[in-house]
C-alpha cells in the first residue's frame, strides 16, 4: 500500500510538473500577463485552467468508492466560507500578482536553482510559519 502510494505520488508530481512547464505557467511573466488584464493581456492561463479543471472534474466523478491504496478520501467537504478563507485568499492573490509565482510553479522553478525562486520559497515558508504563530497565539488567548 505504502509503496504504491509513494510511486503514485512521484508519478503524479512528474505529470503535474510537466504540465506546468508545457503550458508556460513556470514563467512568471506569462502569469503576470494574464493577471494584467488592462495591459497586453495573455489569456493562456484560462486555457490551462480549462484543461486541468475539465480533466479533474471528469475524473472526480468517475472515482471509485475507495482510493486504490488508501482507506478513504482525505477531501474537504461542506466547509463554510468564513473571514479566514477570504482574507487568506486575498493576501495570497496580492503575493501572486506581485511575483507571478504561486506555490506549484515556484517549486518546479526551484529546479533551475535561480536565486529569485530560492528567496521566494524561503519567504513562503516564513509566511507559513507566521500563520502558525498567529494561530498558536490566538489559541492561547
Amino acid at each position: 500500500m505504502k509503496a504504491l502510494r509513494n510511486a503514485s505520488a512521484a508519478l503524479a508530481g512528474l505529470a503535474f510538473g510537466l504540465g506546468l512547464v508545457v503550458s508556460g505557467m513556470t514563467r512568471p511573466s506569462k502569469v503576470l500577463a494574464f493577471l494584467d488584464v488592462f495591459g497586453d493581456w495573455d489569456p493562456t492561463l484560462l486555457f490551462v485552467m480549462a484543461g486541468a479543471v475539465g480533466v479533474y472534474a471528469l475524473g472526480y466523478r468517475l472515482r471509485r468508492e475507495k482510493p486504490l491504496a488508501a482507506d478513504g478520501y482525505a477531501v474537504p467537504s461542506g466547509g463554510r466560507v468564513d473571514a479566514r478563507l477570504l482574507l487568506g485568499a486575498a493576501v495570497f492573490g496580492v503575493g501572486w500578482g506581485l511575483s507571478g509565482y504561486c506555490p506549484g510553479p515556484a517549486v518546479v522553478s526551484l529546479g533551475s536553482g535561480s536565486i529569485g525562486v530560492i528567496v521566494f520559497l524561503g519567504c513562503v515558508l516564513g509566511g507559513m510559519a507566521l500563520t502558525r504563530l498567529l494561530d498558536a497565539s490566538v489559541k492561547r488567548s
Binding site: 503514485s8 484543461g51 478520501y73
Partner: protein
C-alpha cells in the same frame, strides 16, 4: 506581442489534471501544493514520504526543463526584495486560506466546492488588481 498558445496550454492543463487525479484515485489526496509544502516543513500526522516524492518530482521536472530549455522556468529578471515580500504574502495567505491555485483553483473548482470557488474568485481578483497597480508603478518581478 500577443504570446498566445492555447494548444500547449490545454495539453499542459490536462497533464496537471491527470497528475492531480492520480493522487486522488490512488492516494485519496488533494494535490494542493501549498498544503503539501506546509505538511513537509511543519510535520503533520501520517506519512510524509509521499509529500516529499510529489514535491521532489516537481523540482526534478524543473531541473530537467531548465537544462533542456533555459528560460522555460523561473523569472528572467528577479527582483529579490519584491520576490521576498511576495513569498511572505503567498505563504501567509495560502495557510490562512487553506490552499492555492492547485488545491482551490484546480481541484476545488473541479469539485464545485463553495469554499474553493470563492477563494479562487478572490485570489484572481486581488491578483489582477495587484498586477495592474504594479505595472502602473513600474515594479514587477
Amino acid at each position: 506581442m500577443l504570446d498566445l498558445s492555447p494548444l500547449p496550454a490545454l495539453f499542459g492543463g490536462a497533464l496537471i489534471g491527470l497528475g492531480a487525479l492520480l493522487l486522488l484515485w490512488v492516494n485519496g489526496r488533494i494535490a494542493g501544493v501549498s498544503n503539501l509544502l506546509g505538511g513537509i516543513v511543519f510535520p503533520v500526522r501520517g506519512d510524509r514520504a509521499w509529500r516529499a516524492l510529489f514535491l521532489g518530482a516537481l523540482v526534478a521536472v524543473g531541473a530537467l526543463a531548465s537544462w533542456l530549455s533555459p528560460g522555460s522556468v523561473g523569472a528572467s529578471r528577479p527582483n529579490l526584495i519584491l520576490l521576498g515580500a511576495a513569498g511572505l504574502l503567498v505563504g501567509f495567505g495560502t495557510r490562512l486560506g487553506n490552499g492555492c491555485t492547485s488545491g482551490h483553483g484546480v481541484c476545488g473548482v473541479a469539485r464545485l466546492s463553495r469554499r474553493s470557488l470563492t477563494a479562487t474568485a478572490v485570489f484572481v481578483a486581488t491578483g489582477i488588481v495587484t498586477a495592474t497597480i504594479a505595472r502602473w508603478l513600474g515594479v514587477g518581478a
